[in-house]
Symmetry: C2
Subunit: 255 residues, 2 copies
DNA sequence: GATAGTGTTTTGCTATCCGGAACATTGATG
DNA sequence: CATCAATGTTCCGGATAGCAAAACACTATC
């Protein structure tokens, strides 16, 4: 069931909301029939059919014998933000190298609408996580990004969001978060110590452009058994700083 | 000016077409103001405003001081097809390795609606090409894919499309294409010899799943000066076969 | 052949979307 | 400060586009 579907209480263009409810149902499960999409959305059969026909004509949905699929044409819409700045493209290559060198999951994450968004990721073949959104406060990468903001900006974030408790370790008290961000600023890196998911640790550093603007956050995560304290506070941040510096150099001097 | 916008002659849900006209205008140029989008689309100012507000509420568009931007949320829609099969994810890593090893542009391409679509690419920081669509007949990767089809399927393709002439070398005669596909089948690889763009050569091979289904096409391309005949017909296809085989093995036995 | 399930088309109704106009805001200029 | 132009935001009445329900067509199964 698509979670971002149209709501009767929402303003705006209702037809557009219905279209996206349908697209999100397909996002969550491809190859659905019209009957299945009717069940997954709160739309009627003929509305589903009509929207699908339109989306198919526009090239955003593919109809096959067994059902409907999202088209690769959405790549054109997603690559526009993902290549918004050459830094994002440079980070892609770095994430790959980092993943290979550490033999762990490597990620490049940015913030959008107060959420951490996976832009690039090196890891398993199954779930690429790209495009997925996570709370800023419970991730090393998110904390790195928050640490770049002044207190007013962090206060606005706290006003607009809730410090959701995901594990026993998750920071849920604003004062604790301010203190943690201060630690991140001093250290130059952030650690997620099972704050997002039990058994998982992560380290992240900020990535700056040659103009010293924050580009995003470069991070590595893995099971606690493979990321002990000495590594998390020693070699790993060092390696991440090196890699972040490589991105900066690539941007300053070209490939 | 968005090229896939709504047309007065089209059937279907007109409101949805207007929404996508707007999204495509933003795809082509980000950071536009309402006035600019009104000029770029044939929509009126209040329609533009209304749709943008809806898209912003849905999280697909971001409003900033200087204009409107596409959200990373589109990654969620594009990653669904791009991770439709683990083979595509495996191909991503291989494309990177291939690009690094050859020091050329490396690509993984699939077919959708009779067009070649760049799914993964290793190359310059500027234009990543991902999501872009190209004619099948003028690309090595496209010819590899066409060579996998039987004559009926190729005939249907020829019926539905036009063999557009892009360079002097482009194949524009159906009989020539059939002959070329036969050559591709015999050789096991395809060459694009300045058929798509003057000065550019490419080589591509098919990538198969462990079930021997066609996954897509793995290719390398670069300027003719760097891709001479001996390389194009010798070491390069060999390397591509090796890499394609690696994908197959990865899929068969895991990472 | 009959039947159930699913996809496609039809159709009348009305609410939604639209576009034009009014209004609000902002920045620049004198 | 006042004025003005440009741009963004809201309002509003009308009509048509979108809707949902129903009818119809198609397919697979027994």
């Amino acid at each position: 069931m698509a979670t971002d579907g149209p709501s009767a209480d929402s303003a705006g263009v209702t037809t557009t909301r219905k279209t996206f409810a349908l697209l999100e149902a397909l996002r969550d499960e491809e190859g659905c029939t019209i009957t299945e999409l009717t069940a997954r959305t709160s739309l009627t059969k003929s509305t589903v059919y009509r929207h699908l026909q339109t989306l198919t004509e526009l090239g955003y949905v593919i109809e096959r014998d067994d059902g409907y699929y999202l088209s690769f044409r959405f790549l054109q819409l997603s690559e526009t933000p993902r290549t918004r700045t050459p830094g994002y493209t440079a980070a892609k290559r770095t994430v790959f190298e980092l993943g290979e060198e550490t033999d762990e999951r490597a990620v490049f994450i940015v913030e959008e609408n107060y959420e951490a968004v996976y832009i690039h990721r090196y890891g398993s073949l199954s779930d690429t996580m790209i495009g997925k959104r996570r709370p800023l406060h419970s991730m090393a990468s998110g904390k790195v990004i928050l640490a770049e903001w002044d207190d007013d900006a962090v206060a606005a974030f706290l006003e607009a969001t809730e410090l959701e408790q995901l594990t026993e370790n998750t920071i849920t008290d604003p004062d604790d978060l301010y203190a943690e961000l201060e630690t991140v600023r001093e250290r130059g890196y952030a650690v997620n110590d099972q704050e997002h998911m039990d058994g998982l640790r992560g380290v992240a550093v900020p990535v700056y452009t040659p103009d010293d603007e924050l580009l995003g956050s470069l991070g590595v995560f893995g099971p606690t058994t493979r990321l002990p304290d000495e590594y998390v506070h020693g070699e790993l941040p060092n390696r991440l700083w090196d890699k972040a510096g490589e991105i900066k150099v690539t941007l300053a001097y070209g490939e």
